[in-house]
C-alpha cells in the first residue's frame, strides 16, 4: 500500500470517527438540554439532583457533568427485559435498526469548507457521494424499521399501535420532506450538500447573506414541520404518546436498548438541525467571510486560512445548535396533535404546499433561464 492511500484512509477514518462521536455527544448533551428547557418553560429549577454514588461518596452536584454521567450509567446498568411471547431476534435488532441509519446520515453533511493542511486538501465532509442528498432521504426512510419492528416484536398492543402509527406517520411526512428537498435541489442545481453550501456564499444586494432561506422560505417551513414529524417529537409524537400508549413502540424496552431508542430521537433532532443549517442557512458560511478573510465592501480584513476554517466550523456548529434549541422549544411549547389532525396536516397541508412550491420553483427557474 502506498503512503498517499494510507494517508487518505487515515483522514477519512478520523473524519468519520469525529463526526460519529460528535453526533453521539450532542445527543447526550441534548438529553440534558431538554430537561433544562422543560424546567425553564415550566418555571422550575430542573435537572439538578443527579448524583453518582462512587467510592462511598455521593457526588451530588447541580452540574451538567453529573446529569450526563448519571443518565447513561443508569440505563446501562438496568436489567434488559424481553417480554414473554416476543420475537427475541427482532426485538433485539430493532433498536440497532433505529440508531444505525440515524448515525450514518452524518456521512454526507459537510461541516466545513475544504481545508488545506500541510499541502493536503481535506474536504470537511466524510463521504463525497454523487447522490448527495438522496443518501439522506434513503437513510431517513430506513429509520422507519426500528419503529415498526420495535412495535411489532414486543408482543404488546400499545407497542403495536405505536409501531403502526409510526410507520404511517413517517411515510406520510417523508413525501412532504422529499418535495421540500426537490425544491432545494432545483434552486442549487446540484444534489451535493457541499456544493449547496458553497453556492450560498456571498450576499444579496450587498448586505443580506446569500442563504437558501431567502429564496425558499416555504420550503424551509415544510422541511422543518416534516423533519420534526420524522423525528417523532411533540407535536408529532403520536407513535409514543405517553398518555395513550404508555411509551408507544418502545414500551417494552429497558436498559441499553431503551437508551438506543432515546438516543435515536436526539440524533434525529441533530440531523434535522444540521440539514436545515446546510440547506437554508449557509452551512459553514459566515456572512462576509471569504477564503482570504472578511470583505466589507472595499475593505478587507485578511485572515489566515486555518482561522477561516475554524470560523466556518464554528458557524456550522452555532447554527445547528440554534435549530436543536428551536426544536426543543417547540417540543415544550406545543400540545400534541390528534391523529386525524396529523394525517390531515401531512396529506392535505404540507404535501400540496410542497407540490406548489416545487412547481413554482421550476417555473421561475424556467423563466429566468438559468440558476
Amino acid at each position: 500500500m502506498d503512503s498517499t492511500l494510507a494517508i487518505n484512509i487515515a483522514i477519512s477514518a478520523v473524519l468519520a470517527l469525529a463526526v460519529t462521536l460528535n453526533a453521539l455527544q450532542l445527543a447526550g448533551l441534548l438529553g440534558w438540554v431538554e430537561r433544562k428547557a422543560s424546567a425553564l418553560i415550566q418555571d422550575r429549577i430542573g435537572a439538578n439532583r443527579a448524583a453518582i454514588p462512587l467510592f462511598g461518596f455521593k457526588f451530588a452536584g447541580k452540574g451538567l457533568v453529573n446529569t450526563l454521567m448519571a443518565d447513561p450509567l443508569k440505563f446501562l446498568t438496568k436489567e434488559d427485559v424481553i417480554p414473554r411471547g416476543a420475537d427475541r431476534l427482532l426485538h433485539t435488532i430493532a433498536p440497532c435498526l433505529a440508531v444505525f441509519p440515524a448515525l450514518v446520515t452524518f456521512a454526507v453533511i459537510p461541516f466545513g469548507d475544504v481545508v488545506v493542511l500541510y499541502g493536503k486538501e481535506i474536504n470537511l465532509q466524510v463521504a463525497q457521494l454523487n447522490i448527495g442528498i438522496l443518501y439522506v432521504l434513503a437513510m431517513v426512510s430506513l429509520g422507519v424499521y426500528g419503529v415498526v419492528l420495535g412495535g411489532w416484536a414486543s408482543n404488546n398492543r400499545w407497542s403495536l399501535l405505536g409501531g403502526i402509527r409510526g410507520s404511517a406517520q413517517m411515510i406520510s411526512y417523508e413525501l412532504a420532506m422529499g418535495l421540500a428537498l426537490v425544491a432545494m435541489i432545483m434552486t442549487y442545481g446540484t444534489v451535493d450538500l457541499q456544493a449547496m453550501c458553497r453556492a450560498q456564499g456571498g450576499t444579496i444586494l450587498g448586505f443580506i447573506p446569500n442563504w437558501g432561506i431567502f429564496y425558499q422560505p416555504l420550503a424551509f417551513i415544510i422541511f422543518m414541520c416534516a423533519g420534526i414529524a420524522e423525528s417523532k417529537r411533540v407535536p408529532f409524537d403520536l407513535p409514543e404518546s405517553e398518555s395513550e400508549l404508555i411509551c408507544g413502540y418502545f414500551t417494552e424496552y429497558s436498559g441499553t436498548k431503551h437508551l438506543m431508542f432515546f438516543m435515536t430521537d436526539f440524533i434525529e433532532v441533530v440531523i434535522v438541525a444540521s440539514l436545515a443549517t446546510v440547506l437554508f442557512f449557509g452551512g459553514w458560511q459566515v456572512p462576509f467571510l471569504e477564503r482570504d478573510g472578511f470583505h466589507f465592501g472595499e475593505t478587507i480584513f485578511a485572515l489566515p486560512s486555518i482561522v477561516v476554517a475554524v470560523l466556518g466550523i464554528l458557524s456550522y456548529t452555532v447554527k445547528s445548535m440554534f435549530f436543536c434549541w428551536l426544536q426543543i422549544m417547540t417540543r415544550w411549547t406545543l400540545p400534541r396533535f390528534r391523529y386525524d389532525q396529523l394525517m390531515r396536516l401531512g396529506w392535505m397541508g404540507l404535501l400540496p404546499l410542497g407540490f406548489l412550491n416545487a412547481i413554482v420553483t421550476a417555473a421561475v427557474i424556467l423563466a429566468l433561464g438559468s440558476h
Binding site: I131, L134, L137, V144, I164
Partner: protein, 169 residues
C-alpha cells in the same frame, strides 16, 4: 468488483432471499426481503448505478416494504398454519424451478463471452449512473413512457383508495 467481495455478498443475498420463502411468519419474510433489497442496492453501487441504488433504498426498502409491513400488522397476520402443505406439489415446484435455473445458468455460462459491450474489466464512462445522466436520458428519449408512468401511478392511487375504503352501508 472483485471475487473476494462478490462471493460473500452474493451468498448473503441468496440466503436472505431464501429467508423470504422459508420463514413461516410474514413479518420475518418481509424483513428478509428488506435485507435482500438492501444487498441488491450494494450490488448496484458496485455496478456504477448509484442513483438506482439510492432509488432502490428510498422506493423499495423505504416505502414499498414499509407498506407491506404496515398491512401485515394491520391485519395482524400470524404464522402460517403448518399441516396444510402439499408435499407432492412442493416437489414438483422445486424440481421444475431447479431445472429452469440450471437451464438458464447453462445458457448464461455458454453466452458469457459472447455478450456485446466493453464488459466489467473496462472502467465505466465518467459520471456513469449519476442522477444527471439518468435524468437526461429519462426526460429526452423516455419522456413519453415517463408520462405514462405518471398516469399509471394516478390510476393505482385511485384504485387503491377505492379498494381499501370501508363501504359505508
Amino acid at each position: 468488483m472483485s471475487l473476494p467481495l462478490f462471493l460473500p455478498l452474493a451468498a448473503l443475498l441468496l440466503l436472505s432471499a431464501l429467508g423470504v420463502v422459508l420463514n413461516t411468519h410474514p413479518v420475518r419474510s418481509a424483513m428478509c426481503l428488506v435485507a435482500t433489497l438492501f444487498l441488491l442496492a450494494v450490488f448496484f453501487i458496485f455496478l456504477d448505478a448509484e442513483f438506482v441504488a439510492a432509488l432502490q433504498i428510498i422506493v423499495y426498502a423505504g416505502a414499498i416494504m414499509v407498506v407491506f409491513l404496515f398491512v401485515i400488522m394491520l391485519l395482524n397476520l400470524e404464522k402460517d398454519e403448518v399441516g396444510r402443505t402439499r408435499t407432492g406439489w412442493h416437489m414438483t415446484t422445486m424440481v421444475s424451478a431447479g431445472l429452469f435455473a440450471i437451464g438458464l445458468l447453462y445458457i448464461v455460462y455458454r453466452a458469457g463471452t459472447l455478450l456485446p459491450g466493453a464488459g466489467m474489466g473496462v472502467a465505466a464512462p465518467a459520471a456513469f449512473g449519476s442522477l444527471e445522466m439518468v435524468a437526461l436520458r429519462l426526460f429526452t428519449v423516455y419522456l413519453l413512457p415517463f408520462e405514462i408512468t405518471g398516469l399509471l401511478m394516478l390510476a393505482a392511487v385511485v384504485g387503491a383508495v377505492v379498494l381499501a375504503k370501508k363501504k359505508v352501508a
